[in-house]
């Protein structure tokens, strides 16, 4: 099961966080800082999975951006690793022309892909369908 998804930059600043298991608001910042430290310290040739407390972190780096997913022990880490890439491909597909900050839209995309810690959709067209519809309506 997926516990959280984080997007952080190389300075360790959180760009997006989504929790699927309850974590107190005041404990999140510390947890994120810790998680990011775990991943930032690792070298390129090291494993993309890290043991963290009683669960595992799966992380992937795209230039200065890190995407970190916390998963419980029974999860298939490699499938999550590829899920991250799928997510990034979806973002790439959607944001290809408009350059802007879109915290809300990234969240909406993520909501289409993961719910309650489970992967609910991986088909790119279908992930983007609701958001595209919303955009169309807002424009038109």
């Amino acid at each position: 099961m997926i516990r959280f998804v984080l997007m952080v930059n190389r300075q360790g600043q959180t760009r997006l966080s989504r929790y699927y298991t309850p974590v107190d608001l005041n404990r999140r910042a510390a947890l994120e800082a810790d998680v990011v430290r775990c991943c930032l310290n690792r070298k390129k040739d090291q494993c993309s999975f890290v043991e963290y407390q009683d669960f595992k972190l799966v992380y992937r780096q795209y230039a200065a951006l890190y995407i970190v997913v916390g998963v419980s022990d029974g999860e298939n880490e490699l499938s999550i690793y590829e899920l991250v890439h799928n997510f990034v491909e979806v973002l790439d597909k959607y944001f290809s022309r408009v350059i802007m900050f879109n915290l809300d839209r990234v969240h909406i995309i993520l909501d289409e892909m993961i719910q309650n810690g489970h992967i609910v959709e991986t088909n790119k067209n279908r992930i983007l369908a609701p958001l595209s519809a919303i955009d169309k309506m807002a424009d038109g």
């Binding site: 930059n9 959180t14 760009r15 997006l16 966080s17 989504r18 309850p22 608001l25 005041n26 910042a29 090291q46 494993c47 993309s48 999975f49 043991e51 009683d54 795209y62 230039a63 200065a64 951006l65 298939n76 880490e77 490699l78 499938s79 690793y81 590829e82 890439h85 799928n86 990034v88 491909e89 973002l91 790439d92 944001f95 408009v98 350059i99 802007m100 900050f101 879109n102 915290l103 809300d104 969240h107 909501d111 719910q115 309650n116 489970h118 992967i119 609910v120 959709e121 991986t122 088909n123 790119k124 067209n125 279908r126 369908a129 609701p130 519809a133 919303i134 955009d135 309506m137 807002a138």
Partner: protein, 1119 residues
């Protein structure tokens, strides 16, 4: 492929980090968020960030409550509030506005409102109720986008109690023409099932409909529900197996639309989901498993593309194959698949391979053998997670023979680990393993694991130490060793030791430091008193320390130390400490009283307990007469106190480990002692019952520690018994030495080359995981083991380290065993005084004439004992015996028994009894006209340890037999688990030129008697051993009544037929000893009683007494 994508995606961070181009139309609406983010990025201190965010929150707060704020502005404010909360600053004032936005906004604003609600609120937040109406309205909207949004938020969070309000609407959506609505409705129902399963009880049939939906997305969504349902009750959904299989088949076959592909792999995450469901359904269910074999095979076959995601599928597939009922063909493929994983240079795949292996070895430990070298490499991998996963794997394959090495590896990891979770997890595992190896390992465990370990671990350890083993001398050595090592620990840096360890140390020093001659009580007292001054010493530990001091205060210096301690602690706030200090003071003044209250070696003497406390009667009546209140039991006092709301007197209920020292074993009387001390019958229950009144009852007390270690783990101990039970023939001092050296040097010390080092490590790690396959593996892999083997043999003979390995005369056991011997036992273990060197084998007959005689006897007896359909006097017999291995040719062998035959081969076997093993020789006679090729003989047995012996002439197992000639396979066999007849199963596979591979199977029974050897020992040794053995059996046997001394006659018959050693005969009692090769002693006490022979057998090995009894019975009947 993915590299290219990754390169194009490097532009992504800029998408998200707002290095925006000026002039963009949409920019103005987010520029405030942009400013905020940029501002925060530039800040250097947490304090500044806090100030900035607080300012931002105030500004947001002002604007959201302003009536002039438009919904579009509100949306923008919400995104900023989300951002602030994401950084950890609560924005609770905005929650209600988020709900309002969801309610009143249009399209994107509404969606952001819903998003903000799902991010801000948790499932039990009361504001969530306000969302119900909005959801209801949107679910009924004609705008599909709004329906979609409502369903999305419902499937994320919804108040449990309000489900009935929207359930009919959601159910309705299951029939919606649009797939996206149906899909989201299914996901909403899944959420309902998760939070309130009863609410959706009635619509299970609708789940089935969703499963059969023509749209793959809807079907996929329904799988979430089914995975959950099947997890909870797999029985109820077996009928769906075929459907899941069909779906998987279609997915794997590429029947889905192209856009479900990810990097040309069809719906990989769907495949993974289906595989998980299938493994749950097929677990422990043969018929259901059979349905899925084909599709699993296909999945394995299809997933050949070299991409991460196919490996993710393969991993799941392998797991499934090893979870359901096994099919050998699939297992083979899956094992191969794992091989690709672990050998991969890609570290992520290696990790997954190790994880798969960890899972798989629980089903089939032998698989670890195939990858032993990779595992060794992973153990030293610079990446911690690989190391950690490897340890996890090793933990699963731990057995009695490799436990020390594995524990050492885990401790190495513990030393570098800084993470609490890892420490807790590993300490638990190490403790579980280390309990079998009490001493050195426990010290390390105590100091590293410290206060995180379960409290019963140190308690059991102390109990073990106080109860002691079979020999006083040995106990003394062990305790002395404990005392010495603890004193040196205290002298170095006691402030680093955890509390629990300090408590253990205190108790041991208090109890046993007098054993050390050069150690003055005063020295120990001073060391202990330092503990009291340490800041971090807890008061519980302090009272352990004071108790220990009370036992020690003897002699001038010690008394003055005691006096000092008393003065500091007599005014302690802690009542328990004060009481201990008082006791210390009193007892140090009055050595006579101390001697009575705290007698030395209390553990060895039964403590007299007068539970009625009658000796206090006078005191009580006096006190009562003087006006004291009568005694009330604690519960009554507690009640009254509770009513009176008075202070609790909790501290007095603390109990101290004095009970520990008074433990004694009630029913451990020796029969020899009994017969000397009383004229009573040898009925032990009688006596132990009598003893019970004066000894502490330990019946109810769980005995966690025993001779072999942790008793709770009977199973593994059973296996190790033969190996780990110290030989009774070793003296206790040697034993203690062995124990210590063994745990100090578990890793190989001989390191001529790195590769050999690894080989050694491998052999010590993977020993005991099925000797048969290890032999094949090691024997064939490369010449290194061969070189190694010779060397090892030399070492073994020179050091005489043979306790653990069947280093049989002149024969060579499997390389693995020799390596084990070399690495694990590279210490000065002193072995029993038998002939270990090959040279000595020649002189066996002359130096040990007795033995020879008995061997011949056995040979004579064999025909009557082996009830195989023998056809003796075949001429073949004679000619076969000429093929006996040279090292056995001089010894007498049993009848050559035919095993099986077909048109091309005849198999027969014989055995030769050697002092420390049984040599099994199998003759393969090629009766065909052409040569047998690729011959492989596999011999295996559940009860025996079978080691292939390479002939001295040819270094490798025979692979080819010419026409009409004989090949000989020679095995050294020792007993792993006694049974009346042990059975050897074998299979010969071979190929005739141009023909197909053929196999022929056989089984060969060997009576246990062929493994029994006399055990020569003195009556005293017998006595001490008797006490240590836990497995016993009693029965009456027929007495051979033919002359004046029936006992002697009967015992002589047994001696002759079963090779028992008669230790001594006194009057009507006799004691007899024997051992099962190798080093598994069994003692027998015989007593003539009412015309029968009452025998009582004891052994450390389970089942051995029973089996031996059976053979005694047979032997006497046949006489």
């Amino acid at each position: 492929m993915s590299d290219v994508v990754e390169k194009t995606l490097t532009a992504l961070p800029s998408l998200l980090s707002l290095d925006s181009q000026p002039g963009s139309a949409k920019l103005s609406s987010t520029s405030k968020l942009g400013n905020l983010i940029r501002g925060i990025t530039e800040l250097t201190s947490k304090h500044e960030e806090e100030k900035l965010i607080q300012r931002e929150l105030t500004s947001i707060k002002d604007q959201v409550s302003s009536p002039n704020t438009s919904m579009r502005q509100m949306k923008e404010l919400m995104v900023r509030a989300i951002y602030c909360e994401m950084l950890g600053y609560e924005a609770s004032f905005s929650y209600i506005h988020a709900i309002k936005l969801a309610q009143q906004g249009s399209v994107l604003d509404k969606r952001v409102g819903y998003l903000a609600v799902s991010l801000f609120l948790n499932e039990s937040h009361e504001l969530l109720l306000l969302l119900v109406n909005t959801v209801l309205k949107d679910l009924q909207s004609t705008n599909l986008i709004e329906v979609c949004m409502a369903l999305t938020v419902v499937s994320q969070m919804f108040p449990k109690d309000m489900i009935p309000a929207i359930l009919p609407l959601v159910e309705d959506k299951l029939n919606h023409p649009k797939e996206i609505i149906r899909r989201k409705a299914v996901l909403a129902l899944y959420k309902f099932y998760l939070i309130a399963p009863n609410q959706v009880q009635h619509i299970h049939n609708k789940f089935r409909k969703a499963l059969c939906d023509k749209d793959p997305g809807v079907m996929t969504a329904s799988l979430h529900i089914y995975l959950q349902l099947i997890k909870e009750n797999s029985e109820g959904y077996k009928d769906l197996t075929a459907s899941f299989v069909t779906i998987l088949k279609q997915v794997v076959g590429g029947k889905l639309p192209m856009d479900f592909n990810y990097h040309s792999v069809p719906a990989p995450w769907l495949q993974i989901q289906l595989l998980r469901i299938l493994s749950l359904l097929g677990k422990n269910d043969q018929s259901t498993s059979e349905i899925m074999y084909e599709v699993l095979d296909e999945s394995l076959r299809r997933a050949e593309m070299n991409h991460n995601i196919t490996y993710a599928i393969l991993y799941e597939c392998v797991k499934c194959i090893y979870t359901i009922q096994p099919k050998s063909e699939l297992l083979e493929k899956a094992a191969k698949c794992i091989g690709n994983f672990v050998l991969s240079p890609k570290i992520n795949l290696k990790y997954l391979g190790l994880k798969a292996l960890t899972y798989v070895v629980q089903q089939d430990p032998k698989l670890a053998l195939q990858h032993q070298m990779t595992i060794i490499e992973c153990l030293d991998h610079p990446d911690l997670i690989i190391k950690r996963e490897t340890l996890e794997l090793l933990f699963r394959i731990t057995n009695g023979q490799n436990v020390t090495v594995i524990v050492e590896k885990m401790l190495d990891f513990l030393r570098i680990s800084k993470d609490d979770y890892t420490t807790i997890d590993l300490v638990g595992k190490v403790a579980e393993l280390a309990e079998k190896y009490p001493f050195e390992t426990m010290n390390t465990v105590f100091s590293l694991g410290g206060d995180m370990m379960q409290p019963d671990i140190p308690n059991s350890f102390l109990k073990l130490l106080s109860e002691g083993f079979d020999s006083d001398e040995e106990d003394r050595k062990l305790r002395l060793f404990a005392v010495d090592s603890y004193v040196s620990l205290l002298q170095s840096e006691p402030n680093k030791l955890p509390q629990r360890f300090l408590q253990v140390i205190s108790w041991v020093l208090g109890e046993y430091s007098h054993l050390s001659a050069e150690l003055e009580p005063a020295t120990v007292m001073t060391l202990l008193s330092k503990l009291l001054d340490l800041k971090h010493t807890s008061s519980e530990t302090k009272s352990w320390v004071l108790m220990a001091m009370t036992k020690l205060c003897e002699g001038g210096v010690a008394i003055s130390v005691a006096q000092d301690i008393y003065e500091t602690h007599s005014s302690s706030m802690d009542t328990v400490l004060r009481q201990r200090a008082q006791e210390l003071q009193h007892l140090s003044q009055d050595s006579e009283l101390r001697g009575r209250v705290l007698p030395r070696d209390a553990g060895l003497m039964p403590l007299e307990v007068d539970s009625s406390l009658s000796f206090l009667d006078g005191f009580v009546s006096e006190a009562l007469a003087a006006g004291a209140a009568p005694y009330k039991p604690p519960h009554q006092r507690q009640e009254e106190l509770a009513q009176a709301k008075a202070l609790s007197l909790e501290p007095y209920s603390l109990s101290l480990p004095i009970s520990m020292s008074s433990c004694s074993i009630a029913d451990r009387q020796s029969p020899t002692l009994m017969s000397m001390s009383s004229g009573l019958s040898g009925d032990s229950t009688d006596l132990s019952h009598k003893g019970g009144s004066t000894t502490l009852k330990l019946d109810g007390v769980k005995r966690v520690w025993g001779r072999e270690g942790y008793l709770a783990q009977r199973e593994p101990v059973e296996e190790t018994a033969q190996v780990e039970v110290p030989s009774p023939l070793r003296s206790p001092s040697q034993q203690a030495e062995a124990d210590s050296t063994q745990s100090q040097t578990p890793t190989p010390t001989v390191t001529p080359e790195l590769e050999q080092d690894k080989q050694q490590l491998a052999s010590s790690l993977f020993v005991g995981l099925g000797s048969q396959s290890s032999v094949c593996l090691m024997g064939k892999s490369d010449p290194t083991p061969q070189r190694f083997r010779r060397k090892a043999q030399g070492r073994a003979s020179s050091s005489g380290a043979s306790e653990k390995t069947p280093t049989s005369l002149g024969s060579t056991p499997s390389p693995v065993d020799n390596l084990l011997c070399n690495s694990l036992l590279d210490s000065n273990l002193v072995s029993e005084p038998t002939n270990q060197t090959p040279q000595a084998s020649q002189s066996l007959d002359t130096t040990n004439g007795n033995c020879h005689e008995e061997l011949t006897d056995v040979k004579e007896n064999n025909p009557s004992l082996i009830h195989n359909n023998e056809e003796p006097d075949k001429p073949k017999d004679l000619c076969l015996s000429s093929h006996l291995p040279t090292e056995l040719s001089g010894l007498s062998h049993s009848e050559i028994t035919p095993l099986c035959s077909n048109q091309s081969v005849n198999l027969s076997a014989c055995h030769v009894q050697k002092e420390d093993s049984l040599q099994l020789v199998i003759f393969i006679f090629n009766s065909s006209d052409s040569a047998l090729q690729q011959m492989q003989l596999q011999v295996d047995s559940g009860e025996l340890k079978v080691n292939y012996c390479l002939s001295l002439i040819t270094d490798s197992p025979v692979e080819e037999v010419r026409s009409h000639s004989v090949a000989v396979c020679h095995y050294s066999v020792t007993v792993k688990r006694p049974s009346v007849h042990v059975e050897v199963l074998g299979m010969l596979s071979y190929q005739l030129p141009g023909g197909t591979p053929q196999t022929i199977q056989f089984s060969h029974k060997l009576p246990l008697t062929t493994f029994i050897r006399p055990l020569t020992l003195s009556t005293e040794e017998y006595g001490s051993m008797w006490l240590a053995f836990s497995q016993d059996t009693k029965q009456n046997l027929t007495l051979i009544n033919d002359d004046q001394d029936p006992l002697t006659t009967t015992l002589n018959v047994l001696k002759k037929k079963l090779q028992l050693h008669v230790v001594e005969i006194i009057g009507v009692e006799g004691i007899v000893a024997c051992q099962l090769v190798q080093d598994q002693p069994c003692l027998m006490h015989c007593r003539v009683h009412a015309g029968t022979l009452a025998v009582w057998l004891r052994s450390p090995v389970p089942d051995l007494p029973d089996c031996l009894l059976y053979h005694c019975q047979r032997a006497l009947q046949e006489h």
